[in-house]
């Protein structure tokens, strides 16, 4: 039996943020996710730290909120952020009238904005389409979702929280209309884990309807708005580049770590678990990419994925729930909605504002519990971010140069050394190489694991003392996972790479005949 004051269901940015906030306010907190942390929508976005520019025209309150949280995250999560800055540029396909709206919208929302000439933009980003006509600089950035979520989880842990990843909630317990806890199943050992909790926060994002139903709260409708993103090899730009127009498909290019991510599309998916990649959406993103960066189609596309935004359509939830904040997210108070006490659902929103959403949620929880405890999440830095220095692209290379002769380079693309890999394996204590991939970006570069995954398997075999079957299944599972992301975009140089990887895994190693 796990005993807690608060059970948080869902280990995305929102859930991890709520867990951290609650733990910092002194609640004994448990965070549960059916998968690893940040594997849902959070780990499936482009990595944009919003300045708010994208909402400056359509939704000024959201824009202002983004800018405010952008400042907070820069303060508390510097290590997860690269201060790339952002540009909004007008291409010949964009309505020139939008520029003025954009400029005044930014000023109104308190977003620092600077008008730039075409030549200045091209000086900063020479690959951009020379036919653009001016644009603006705003403080967008790139943020590593996995690092941020794990940072929140580890911070929560430091404040006494328990993190149960790979635990699926199978039932939520109620007694006389009050939620009292839940039962989880450990997805690895299949063990049942009863959790007693005085309060439950459902932060399961696009799955929030399913989870609310476990507590008997029916009809919470969260529509999955699916979008695809493509990681292009290398940095085609060093600044986040947005099209200066009404937000639409394929209008943003985010340089993050060693890649550039183009996003995104928006279609209503049948299920939150639908992460299929329609070919026509890939073509659409490539077309749009070509408008921003001529030659985009001939650049190397590494990997494609889909994530679903949670779009709340809930007639039963009263307006009062969301009006205090912008409409960008929804806090559903199940006492008001369903007469179920000590149960809140928080969903929707944007990665950039996750901390604010968490604060809002835990404030509401405190109100229900009749206790006033101030939120401190905007002041205390996340672990590893105490130095307040932003991540920079050369960070890994600099570290590599320090250990050039006395450590091995296991992942050449992402510059991951053997000692770093071993310590991540020890820390994560996992048999799943995909967990290591998200922790370290192992195998996320151009070769997509062609060279490092055999090595990582051999190392995992010894670090975790795996038997042959466990090690083989770690290797094969990883290869299958990787294939899902590369299969829909196999062309050009990446097809060439994929065939080289086949040569290694099938031609040289013969992994298909592992037992």
């Amino acid at each position: 039996m796990v005993e807690a004051d608060v059970l948080v269901i869902g280990g995305g940015a929102t859930g991890a943020g709520v867990a951290r906030d609650a733990a910092m306010r002194g609640f004994r907190t448990v965070l549960v996710d059916r998968n690893d942390l940040a594997m849902g929508t959070t780990g499936r976005f482009h990595g944009l730290l919003h300045s708010g520019g994208r909402y400056a025209v359509k939704d000024p309150p959201s824009a202002a909120e983004c800018m405010e949280e952008n400042r907070v995250l820069r303060r508390i999560a510097a290590d997860t952020i690269e201060d790339t800055g952002g540009l909004f540029v007008s291409t010949p396909w964009d309505d020139p009238a939008y520029s003025d709206l954009f400029h005044s919208g930014c000023i109104e929302a308190g977003i620092p904005v600077e008008a730039l000439s075409t030549s200045e933009i091209l000086r900063r980003e020479p690959r951009l389409n020379p036919r653009i006509s001016g644009g603006f600089a705003v403080p967008d950035g790139a943020i590593d979702a996995w690092k941020t979520v794990w940072g929140c989880a580890l911070s929560a842990k430091e404040h006494g929280a328990t993190i149960l990843n790979y635990h699926r909630i199978t039932s939520i317990h109620r007694s006389n209309g009050v939620v009292t806890g839940a039962t989880a199943v450990n997805e690895v050992s299949k063990e049942e884990v009863p959790i007693s909790a005085g309060f439950v926060v459902n932060a399961s994002g696009v799955w929030a309807g399913e989870v609310a139903e476990l507590a008997g709260c029916r009809g919470v409708t969260v529509l999955p708005g699916k979008g695809i993103m493509i990681a292009m090899s290398h940095r085609l730009v060093h600044t986040v580049v947005n099209r200066c127009k009404k937000p639409a498909d394929g209008d943003i290019l985010v340089p993050i770590r060693t890649v550039s991510v183009i996003g995104t599309t928006d279609t209503e998916a049948d299920s939150p678990d639908d992460v299929g990649i329609p070919q026509d959406e890939i073509q659409l993103l490539l077309e749009e990419g070509e408008k921003l960066v001529p030659g985009f189609r001939r650049a190397r596309a590494l990997r494609v994925w889909a994530g679903s935004r949670p779009l709340v359509k809930d007639d039963k939830a009263s307006d009062a729930d969301t009006r205090e904040m912008s409409r960008a997210f929804a806090l559903i108070d199940h006492k008001e909605r369903d007469g179920v006490e000590h149960f809140l659902t928080i969903t929707g929103g944007k990665f950039t504002t996750f901390r604010k959403m968490a604060e809002f949620t835990v404030d509401r929880m405190c109100a229900h519990l009749g206790t006033a405890r101030p939120c401190t999440t905007a002041e205390e830095a996340l672990p590893d971010s105490g130095h307040h220095r932003f991540y920079w692209l050369g960070a890994r290379l600099a570290r590599r140069e320090e250990t050039l002769n006395d450590d091995q380079l296991i992942c050449e693309c992402e510059l991951i050394s053997r000692r770093r890999l071993e310590s991540a394996m020890e820390q994560r204590h996992t048999q799943n190489l995909d967990d290591i991939r998200r922790t370290l970006r192992l195998a996320m570069g151009p070769c997509q694991g062609g060279f490092c995954i055999y090595r990582a398997t051999g190392i995992l075999h010894s670090v975790e003392r795996l038997d042959y079957g466990e090690a083989n299944s770690a290797l094969l599972r990883f290869l299958q996972e990787r294939w899902k992301g590369v299969r829909p975009i196999l062309y050009g140089d990446q097809l060439r790479q994929a065939r080289l990887d086949d040569w290694i895994f099938q031609g040289l190693l013969d992994v298909e005949h592992l037992t």
Binding site: R455, L479, Q506, G507, D510, E512, T515
Partner: protein
């Protein structure tokens, strides 16, 4: 034959310096032909494990390629082996073995060897360098797998763990027992030594002494498997010395590219070609061709200073598949052959899956390539030869999935050799 320069007409121009190209060029040069190999890069032989895999799976494991090939050809009429015929595969293999010193290549088409891969899977290979043959698992045995601390491309414990449980199929009743030992020979303080770096170190007698003395206490009478880094040019000598000194069979296990045994193979072929009078020009990309009707006159190569035409009577295209950029697919899914712009066949229509959902399944698009007739001449959509004096060899050919079949080197060897033979026949050789 004319003097060097614009006017020179080669007997044969081979494009591509991988196994198929070098084999074709070598065979032609041995026939006295004036041969030039033009290649953009060093070819993919460096990626191979140094073995010649002719046919390993179809889809069950093949014990004897000689016995299996006629049936395989019947079942796979589009396969390159069907174009050249089983007999030509045998002939090519016999010729290839004879290019090496007696005993340097072990094995025959009658029976595949089963050699451990770097993850400990027994892989069927038809020919293997003598330095690897001791790893043959067909009769089971006791093995000690040796790792090197500063080599990141070889994991002996993982390998041995799998090897001990290898399923050796019917007729292979021998049990395999394997264990791992890791040595830490001196590297001059380097933690990350490449396979080529190790190969150079193994050529040093003092270094070998350190390895031998480190290993001796762990010997148990079983064969000893090293990563395939036992020297480069002097590998046979290094290998023999280790055998003699350790008193047990020693063998190499290939690992990740760039592969030391693949390098040795490529160097052997290049040396043999040069010795036979063939020439290789590297670094130029084919940017166009000149033809008169169905006769190719010249290939234009983008050399250092300017495009340069090379004229020849016969041509062999051996530029490889997608991996070598002999074939290219663009973002719209259009495939093109990059050197001569030949028609490409086998691409599934957009309505069908090009790549299977399962990574390790058969992939239709992997069999894309150039369709040829039985004289290896490239065909157009109407099944007519595009050029009468062009032969296509190696991974550029349609109809195979070499890595699944374990047939890559076999296809390159058989088609490269066959292409040369066809030209030799025309020359009246």
């Amino acid at each position: 034959m004319t003097a060097a320069g614009q006017g020179r007409i080669y007997d044969a121009l081979v494009v591509g310096a991988g196994t198929a190209g070098l084999v074709a060029a070598l065979r032609l040069a041995q026939d006295g032909a004036d041969v030039l190999v033009a290649a953009k890069g060093v070819g993919a032989t460096h990626l191979t494990g140094g073995t010649v895999d002719v046919l390993g799976y179809a889809p069950e494991r093949i014990a004897s390629p000689a016995a299996a090939l006629p049936g395989f050809i019947r079942d796979h009429p589009e396969h390159p082996y069907a174009r050249v015929g089983a007999e030509a595969v045998g002939k090519a293999l016999g010729w290839f073995k004879a290019q090496f010193p007696d005993g340097a290549l072990v094995g025959s088409l009658e029976a595949n060897l089963l050699l451990p891969t770097a993850v400990g899977v027994p892989k069927p290979s038809t020919l293997a360098p003598e330095t690897m043959a001791g790893g043959d698992l067909r009769n089971g045995g006791r093995f000690t797998i040796v790792g090197l601390t500063a080599l990141k491309d070889f994991y002996p414990a993982y390998l041995a763990d799998n090897l001990s449980r290898a399923r050796l199929g019917q007729g292979d009743d021998g049990r395999v027992e394997a264990r791992a030992v890791t040595l830490t020979p001196p590297t001059g303080g380097e933690a990350d030594v490449t396979p080529m770096g190790w190969a150079r170190r193994f050529e040093d007698a003092e270094f070998r002494k350190a390895v031998i003395s480190g290993l001796e206490p762990s010997l148990d009478g079983g064969a000893v498997g090293f990563p395939a880094v036992l020297g480069l040019d002097s590998a046979p000598t290094v290998w023999r010395e280790l055998n003699d000194t350790l008193g047990v069979p020693v063998f190499e296990i290939p690992t990740l590219p760039p592969s030391v045994p693949g390098n040795r193979m490529a160097r052997s072929l290049r040396t043999a070609l040069t010795r036979a009078g063939g020439r290789v020009v590297m670094g130029g990309r084919v940017v166009g061709v000149r033809a008169t009707g169905r006769r190719l006159e010249a290939v234009v190569v983008d050399a250092a200073a300017r495009p340069k035409p090379y004229r020849a009577r016969d041509f062999v295209l051996a530029t490889g598949g997608f991996a070598s950029r002999g074939l290219e697919m663009d973002s719209y899914g259009l495939v093109r052959e990059t050197a001569f712009d030949l028609p490409v066949t086998g691409m599934p229509p957009e309505t069908e899956a090009r790549w299977a959902d399962e990574y390790l399944a058969a992939h239709p698009a992997a069999r894309v390539g150039i369709g040829v007739d039985d004289e290896l001449r490239p065909l157009d959509q109407g099944h007519e030869p595009v050029y009468d004096n062009v032969r296509v060899a190696g991974a550029a050919l349609a109809g195979a999935e070499p890595w699944r079949e374990k047939s890559g080197e076999g296809i390159s060897l058989a088609t490269g050799f066959r292409a040369a033979e066809l030209i030799v026949e025309l020359r009246g050789g």
